[in-house]
């Protein structure tokens, strides 16, 4: 059975408020990315980490995924890569503290000629998975069009080539759509490749902007991704892990007003998650 989570930053910067909201709205747990205005990588190893754990414990919230933005920098700089591995170690401590079975990473900032960077990418991701595996935590690569692995197909190829069972995928169908260099229909095409490796799914949706034609975030289930079939497929294949609402859409966003005018508000974020959750539940039940 699918478990439903949400990125905490989509709900509130105040962890207690986010935890209460998660309980009230029937979420099964949370993904921890940004708390009290701080990305988790900065919280890891500080006193705030214990406070974070205390709040989650008190509220009885399960952490499905610790979601730092690891491995988002350029692969060319050795110093930057070294820093990323240090951050990985710090985040692993935090993941253990929060009992998170999964930690998010990316696949380094994209440069031209993927093939030239592939060996180094495999080497670093493999090493990171090795480190995570030793501590019983799975490393999930989230596909992102700004990084080397934007699509389901390419992500699947790299994960499979590394062959470490502790290295899996955090599938972001929306991100695949943004990858103009390697166009892919996220579902069914991208999913078909990635399916054996998926440990977690990020749910957000995009549509073409009426006046610009560019992609912009919309209510989950009301955009270009075929989520109805994607969710049904996950259910029918017995996917047992979590799907996470990660929308940056807000109910105030309207085609007749500029989307840029809609600023984040906590109330708007929570209302958005409520609507997206209702849409998701609807898809799961129908």
């Amino acid at each position: 059975m699918l478990k439903i989570s949400s990125l905490v930053s989509c709900i509130s910067q105040d962890l207690s408020a986010a935890a209460s909201f998660a309980k009230e709205s029937g979420l099964d747990g949370l993904d921890i990315d940004v708390v009290w205005g701080q990305p988790v990588v900065r919280i890891a190893g500080t006193e705030d980490a214990k406070s974070l754990q205390k709040v989650l414990k008190k509220e009885g919230i399960t952490t499905f995924c610790l979601a730092p933005t690891l491995f988002e920098n350029w692969l060319d700089s050795e110093e930057s890569v070294r820093d990323e591995f240090q951050n990985l170690e710090k985040c692993l401590d935090l993941a253990e503290l929060l009992n998170s079975p999964l930690m998010r990473c990316y696949s380094f900032r994209r440069s031209e000629i993927f093939e030239a960077y592939l060996p180094r990418l495999q080497e670093h991701l493999g090493a990171a998975a090795e480190i995570c595996g030793k501590r019983g935590i799975t490393l999930g690569i989230q596909n992102d069009a700004r990084t080397f692995l934007g699509t389901g197909e390419r992500t699947a190829k790299v994960i499979s080539s590394i062959g470490n069972p502790h290295l899996r995928s955090i599938w972001d169908p929306c991100a695949a759509l943004y990858d103009m260099e390697n166009p892919e229909i996220p579902y069914p095409d991208g999913y078909r490749f990635l399916q054996p490796y998926i440990a977690h799914v990020m749910l957000r949706d995009v549509d073409r902007h009426k006046f610009r034609g560019s992609l912009c975030e919309v209510e989950f289930g009301e955009g270009l991704i075929d989520y109805r079939k994607q969710i049904k497929k996950l259910q029918s294949e017995g996917f047992n892990d979590a799907v996470s609402l990660a929308t940056h859409w807000h109910p105030g966003m309207d085609w007749d007003t500029s989307l840029d005018e809609a600023n984040f508000t906590e109330q708007g974020g929570q209302e958005a998650i409520r609507i997206c959750l209702a849409n998701l539940t609807n898809m799961m039940n129908n």
Binding site: P183, Y187, R208, K210, F211, I225, R228, K229
Partner: protein, 527 residues
């Protein structure tokens, strides 16, 4: 209710959902009209002497088969035949049968003027008198549609209302709500469509990288849509197109560039939906016909004359916006008129597959730009609508649509717009007597036929080509009719009618104010 015989409605036992819905609609409304039990049955032999209305969807299984009328029942047509003890309703298609149901209800005095409960007039009768009823009717325009947004307040009400005024097609103009549409429209027999903005505004034929991405998006998008959506028109963003000036494309006009892009995307679309019609959309900067690039087979035309003038019919030779045949630099958006471009396009495209998407009943149109002062009020332009439809029909165009955005409860609380029902009536029969329709409306909805004089068939709304003298003429007309309306309101005893007449008076006061403001600015709005 006690003592009255139960009325039976016979429908086939294994029938489709539209025919079943037709039966249920008849049952529901007859119960309201007659206040007596109405039962749906499938076994006529057990019926004894009860009044019975037979619904026959295919002309095969019903007790009455009027084969001599078969050719008249094509294309949503229907036949009504009353007897001493009931009636026969017959059509070739389930949708035709639904129109037959609304037809017989209208014969009994029911009316649907506007979407929603406020627009419905249901009479109360003592008995079912159908003897002497003999009517065959069928629509002139084949595809009769409205477009709305999935987020509109009156989406469901419009779906319910559409077949009641004879419409048979329904489209969303945004993606939002498209997955819910088939369920919402179930039983109504409507052709469901999506017509939306999708692409950007620049189309470089040399940018393979981008073109391939667009193809992938189109393919994925079409795959994701419900099968019940019969056709999908995706088109460039709602903004001025930008002409690509790369070495290859610079020899082509913007319309040529868009046509080339359209041909390419049509191929991809047909890989997903082989039967899909794919349109070149003539709208704003793509209004004119492409001079060099021709449409591939299967690429159809969709015309949306948003720059047109609603003070005049498209065919009006005196209209400086709609009628010029020459390029006119004053027309900053399209550079062309309306009628000549229709005729020009018809040389290239098949009119029978062409869509016209106009804005007659679009409250959002009359509430923006130069017409903002109207605050979304749709003008009384039944006469213009009639001539426009007659013109489109004369070209052989058989698919006519209007936007109906924002025509919802908040609109109907403020404005009384006969154009809403006239639209459906005129698509069914472009030659109807509009004045008679207005008189019937005034009698049924406002309780006084003589109020018909309050509703003009043509009134100006667009300030671009109206002189102070024309505004004066209409200001004088409204001043006169306003006093008539006020007087009728004072004398009206029925609360509901009085409320509606007072609302009408308020609308007239509003129109008077707007026209006076436009008169002051006359001549300052660019054509």
């Amino acid at each position: 209710m006690i003592g009255k015989p139960e009325i039976k409605i016979w429908i086939r036992s294994n029938t489709d959902e539209v025919e079943k819905f037709a039966g249920m609609e008849l049952q529901r409304y007859l119960f309201q009209i007659l206040d007596q039990p109405v039962d749906l049955v499938s076994f006529p032999n057990n019926i004894s002497n009860s009044p019975i209305i037979y619904l026959s969807g295919d002309g095969q299984n019903a007790p009455a088969v009027f084969s001599r009328h078969k050719e008249n029942l094509l294309s949503d047509g229907y036949l009504l035949h009353g007897t001493q003890n009931g009636a026969f309703l017959q059509a070739q298609t389930p949708r035709g049968l639904l129109y037959a149901v609304y037809g017989i209800l209208k014969y009994l005095g029911a009316r649907w003027f506007f979407p929603g409960p406020e627009g419905e007039v249901i009479p109360h009768l003592k008995g079912l008198e159908l003897a002497g009823l003999d009517l065959i009717d069928r629509p002139v325009i084949q595809q009769r549609g409205v477009l709305i947004r999935g987020t509109d307040r009156y989406l469901k009400e419009w779906i319910d209302f559409a077949p009641k005024i004879g419409l048979n097609a329904f489209a969303l103009e945004t993606h939002h709500g498209i997955h819910d549409l088939p369920n919402l429209a179930r039983g109504r027999g409507l052709h469901l469509r999506l017509r939306r903005h999708f692409f950007p505004t620049i189309f470089c034929s040399q940018d393979e990288y981008n073109l391939h991405w667009e193809e992938t998006l189109v393919k994925g998008y079409l795959q994701s849509l419900p099968d019940e959506i019969e056709s999908i028109h995706i088109r460039p963003a709602d903004a001025q197109g930008k002409r690509c000036t790369c070495a290859v494309d610079s020899q082509y006009s913007l319309t040529d560039q868009v046509m080339r892009f359209t041909n390419r995307m049509a191929k991809v679309a047909r890989q997903v939906r082989p039967e899909m019609e794919y349109p070149y959309v003539a709208y704003q900067s793509t209004w004119g016909p492409p001079p060099q690039v021709k449409p591939d087979p299967g690429v159809i035309l969709s015309l949306a004359p948003i720059h047109r003038c609603f003070n005049h019919a498209v065919t009006d030779p005196d209209c400086p916006i709609n009628s010029p045949y020459q390029y006119n630099e004053l027309f900053d958006r399209s550079g062309y008129g309306v009628r000549p471009i229709f005729e020009e396009h018809m040389k290239e495209f098949d009119p029978t597959t062409t869509f016209v998407v106009d804005y007659w009943v679009d409250a959002s149109y009359f509430g923006r730009g130069r017409q903002k002062l109207w605050d979304r009020r749709i003008p009384n332009i039944g006469g213009i609508l009639q001539r426009d439809i007659q013109f489109y029909h004369s070209l052989g165009i058989s698919s006519i649509w209007t936007f109906v955005v924002f025509v919802d409860d908040t609109y109907l609380e403020k404005f009384t717009s006969p154009l809403i029902f006239q639209y459906g009536n005129l698509l069914w029969n472009p030659d109807i007597d509009l004045r008679a329709g207005i008189r019937d409306f005034c009698q049924q909805y406002l309780g006084d036929e003589s109020l018909a004089e309050v509703f003009p068939l043509e009134e100006p709304s667009d300030p671009r080509d109206i002189t102070p003298e024309v505004w004066d003429k209409h200001i004088a007309r409204i001043s006169k009719t306003l006093s008539i309306t006020r007087e009728k309101a004072t004398r009206e005893k029925n609360d509901l009618f009085r409320k509606r007449i007072l609302r009408l008076a308020k609308e007239q006061e509003f129109s008077l104010g707007v026209m006076q403001m436009y008169k002051k600015e006359a001549g300052t709005t660019k054509l």
